[in-house]
Amino acid sequence: MANGTVAEKLPSAQAILEPSPTSLMLKRVFGHAGMTIGGGVLLSIFLVAVLAPLLAPHDPFSQDLTKRFVDPIWGAKGTWEHVLGTDGFGRDYLSRMMFGAQTSLLIGFSAMLISGILGTALGVAAGYFGGRVDMIITFIITTRLAMPVILVALVVVALIGSSLTIVIWVLGLLIWDRFAVVMRATTQQVRAMDYVAAAKALGCSTLRIILTEIMPNIVNALIVVATLEVAHAVLLEAALSFLGLGVQPPTPSWGLMVSEGKGMMFFKAWVIAIPGTALFMLVLCINLLGDGIRDVTAPENRN
């Protein structure tokens, strides 16, 4: 019987076993406050944007000039009908905010995809092949960095006209530099590994080595850059729209809403505070998520 009591005190087989990699990863993710908060808020903004047609209390385009600049709910004359008030055309601010989230996220993700494909291709090619290829691509990156992004984007948009698609393409073709720089450095590190040499010795084709040996090992860095570039694109779109050369009215865009509210801001500060704060929160959460992914996946931080 004494044996039984000893056995009860021993840890169970489950506890002795090492925790699985998945549970370790989940523990790290949820132990990282910034990442949990950033990811959580970002997910809710994303859901609101996707479900905007269902959630929005009003049509974001329908104007009512008798109800211009109605105060939001916390204001003196706020009503539940327009929780965040109305803008200068009497359009419901909450609905416009919801549809504006669509614009920001759509432009942010699409521009990131374009710049990501372009920048990764250039960066991996430069890092893998080295030598003359590296020299030429580094030169292209240097040239790109010398061009002032906002000014070039403004000139192009002013010349060929402005629309959602054009803004996405202009931003996408302009902000690939960070992808290229980071992917080049990461590829250079991975390229020197023994398993790449082994793949070469086995006679794998260059494409196969890049796709199956290099890519899986640089994908963490790629995800981190991609996250931060979504934030970059969102900020640039907001700045372009604020200057009147991004998304065109009446499309709801947070940057455009700040610009439209500028004339009223001395009397009703909430007109710019609501879209401005939303932009700030969105970019903050994307950045927190990106920093979180970096902290969680970086091998040197694992202990």
């Binding site: 040239t143 061009m147 604020f242």
Partner: protein, 305 residues
């Protein structure tokens, strides 16, 4: 050192050349620059006039060679709206933007370097967390929104600072902060990382073991080495600021190149736009070139490899 400088100078010239090609082609992305410059309501004759007047009917390489040759001599053509030489307008607007850029960079450095040093000296304490929070918040705040908040708070509610114009130095306070804070996070992180790196090195341990005062170790031994990469970053950031000043100058009605760019876009004054893009890019190339030279001078390892 001379070899490194010459090599670096050659690269700078090549980059400047390709930047000029890109800037030149910007005007042609729309297909027909004459139609774009003449505006939407222009008649066939108007477009034809603009095409002749600006020489858009010539072959592209000829146009580029002519434009680049004149640009090298400081001749950027005539402004279609102001009917004056572009170079004269640019020269008039340059001081405001230069002052704004210099003040913004100073603001960023004054805030970022002490914060970065403090964060590195007391890692994982409240000070470090505070510095990190400032960095994370700073990177997420849209500059135009920050500028408008400052206008409301300091210009209208408290009435401490003028909100537009460029009549006194007070006009430059808010724009410099609005332009400079965005560079703070990057400079701070680099200072912190550099200091952490240096503080754990052997020569700092030696300096401490010799019994030197902590102040001497910090400023004379550690900071001097940690600050080297910050020089390059500052040059890059100043270049970005000059490009990004368009938003800030438009908000504060500062009479610099940024607001000139902004007005020129609205007036379809593309000769001016081209000149602004080209001069800002050239200035950036010059800045990074000088920063690299300074770095090579400060850190002999760079010029050897």
């Amino acid at each position: 050192m001379l070899f490194y400088a010459l090599k670096r100078f050659g690269v700078a010239i090549l980059v400047a050349l390709s930047v000029s090609v890109v800037t030149f082609s910007l005007l042609h992305v729309s297909g027909d620059p004459a139609a774009a410059m003449a505006g939407e309501s222009a008649s066939e004759e108007d477009i034809e006039y603009v095409r002749k007047h600006y020489g858009f009917d010539r072959p592209l390489p000829v146009q580029y060679a002519d434009w680049a040759y004149r640009a090298m001599h400081g001749d950027f053509g005539q402004s279609i709206y102001l009917k004056r030489a572009v170079s004269g307008i640019l020269a008039e607007r340059a001081p405001t933007t230069m002052i704004l850029g210099a003040l913004a960079l100073s603001f960023a450095l004054i805030l970022a370097i002490p914060l970065g040093v403090l964060a590195a000296m007391f890692p994982n304490t409240m000070i470090d967390r505070f510095a990190l929070t400032i960095a994370v918040v700073g990177q997420a705040l849209p500059s135009f929104f920050f500028a408008l908040i400052m206008i409301i708070v300091f210009g209208v509610w408290l009435r401490w600072l003028p909100i537009s114009g460029h009549s006194s130095w007070l006009n430059f306070i808010m724009p410099s902060i609005a332009l400079g804070y965005y560079a703070t996070p990057a400079i701070m992180r680099l200072t912190r990382a550099g200091m952490m790196d240096v503080m754990s090195s052997d020569y700092i341990r030696t300096a401490r073991a010799k019994g030197l005062k902590p102040r001497v170790v910090l400023f004379k031994h550690a900071l001097r080495n940690a600050i080297i990469p910050v020089v390059s970053l500052s040059a890059v950031q100043l270049g970005f600021m000059l490009g990004g000043s368009i938003v800030i100058e438009a908000i504060f009605s500062l009479n610099g190149r940024g607001s000139l760019a902004w007005q020129s876009i609205q007036r379809s004054d593309f000769e001016v736009m081209q000149a602004i893009v080209l001069t800002i890019a050239t200035f950036y190339i010059l800045l990074t070139f000088l920063a690299d030279l300074l770095n090579a001078f400060l850190d002999p390892r760079i010029r050897v490899s």
